[in-house]
């Protein structure tokens, strides 16, 4: 979205303010939620409900290794759009096969493409990521890549046909927030596809910041799942995203070096 479109959003137009379109599909919430690491299944379900999210991520794993006894598909399908990921894949080949298995398992051509280059930082392997993204686009996937907070990488991913770009705020699960806000803002101002801030957030104000910087959506998992009260934190993220989006659309005042009185100076007594 262009700068002019952002700031000229009609304030009272709920549809424009709240909905997001990716690859022609409209989503009513700008918050995407991951399903991993909740204390139990009920807290997962309650947290998803509290978040207001319509898009939730799942992994694709060998049968018998899943966390919950019941099928996630039975629990979530029909209530949420499921976005399979390629989390943990370290080769282009594995990521593409995982994406194809996810498409078959969930009957969706959307994929959150992750190609991990380093186990310790979980940073993307950019070279393989761009190649895998291009190949998946070619195969008909709607590709949402988890990527670096790097405008060049984001541009390359956009150029090969990704439906969105999902730069990290900081390392996955770190709770460090947005390490490089200026670069996220730069990416947003240059992107021709939606920008989803993915990874590293720790609390709701950081989601608000992401939206104020120009992001179109936020993807969060650990910050909700591993908080002391996941359901309440999910709601906090919902409010944070909404607050940040509205603030962004409202056009903030410029930062000034000195004070600017808000009360009128005329008629001041005692002069």
């Amino acid at each position: 979205m262009k700068e002019s479109e952002r700031t000229n959003l009609p304030v009272n137009d709920q549809q424009d303010r709240d909905s997001l379109t990716i690859a022609g599909e409209t989503l009513g919430s700008r918050l995407f939620i991951g399903t991993a690491g909740y204390p139990n299944q009920q807290l997962l379900l309650d947290s998803l409900a509290a978040s207001g999210s319509e898009l939730v991520t799942v992994s694709i794993r060998r049968v018998g290794l899943e966390g919950y006894a019941e099928s996630l598909l039975d629990l979530l399908d029909g209530r949420y759009r499921l976005l399979p990921n390629t989390a943990g894949c370290t080769t282009r080949k594995d990521a593409i096969l995982t994406a194809e298995l996810g498409r078959e398992a969930l009957d969706t051509n959307w994929v959150k493409l992750e190609l991990i280059g380093d186990r310790e930082t979980l940073y993307p392997d950019v070279e393989q990521l761009v190649e895998a993204a291009a190949e998946l686009v070619e195969k008909g996937f709607v590709v949402l890549p988890y990527c670096n907070d790097d405008p060049v990488t984001c541009r390359k991913l956009e150029d090969v046909g990704c439906a969105a770009v999902m730069p990290l705020g900081s390392p996955i699960g770190s709770g460090q927030g947005i390490a490089n806000p200026a670069m996220i803002e730069m990416i947003c101002s240059r992107a021709g596809v939606p920008v989803v801030l993915d990874a590293g957030l720790g609390t709701a104000s950081e989601a608000a910041l992401a939206m104020e910087l120009g992001c179109d959506a936020v993807l969060v998992n650990s910050a909700v799942a591993k908080s002391e009260n996941p359901v309440r934190m999910a709601e906090a993220f919902k409010l944070g995203v909404a607050a940040g989006w509205s603030a962004r659309a409202s056009g903030r005042i410029p930062r000034r070096k000195y004070a600017e009185p808000s009360s009128p100076q005329l008629g001041l007594i005692g002069g």
């Binding site: 997962l44 799942v58 078959e104 969930l106 996955i172």
Partner: protein
């Protein structure tokens, strides 16, 4: 019943007599009609509709997956 052959299922070595991927699922105690299961044979996805007609061979490598919690 065909002769048993050595295959790999989800990283584990097996001897199987299954005549098809559908039979292999049953051998593994999985209901082939259950939603959300996907199978790759030797690195390529086999669509659900072809499970009953897709055979296995000595050395086949099978991955059987389903959605799980993820971020």
């Amino acid at each position: 019943m065909s002769q048993a052959y050595a295959i790999t299922v989800n990283g584990a070595a097996r001897r199987s007599r299954a005549g098809s991927l559908a039979e292999l699922l049953e051998e593994e105690g999985l209901d082939p009609s259950r939603r959300g299961i996907a199978i790759a044979l030797d690195g390529s996805v086999v669509a659900r509709g072809a499970w009953a007609d897709t055979g296995l061979a000595e050395g086949s490598v099978v991955e059987i997956v389903k959605p799980a919690a993820g971020g």
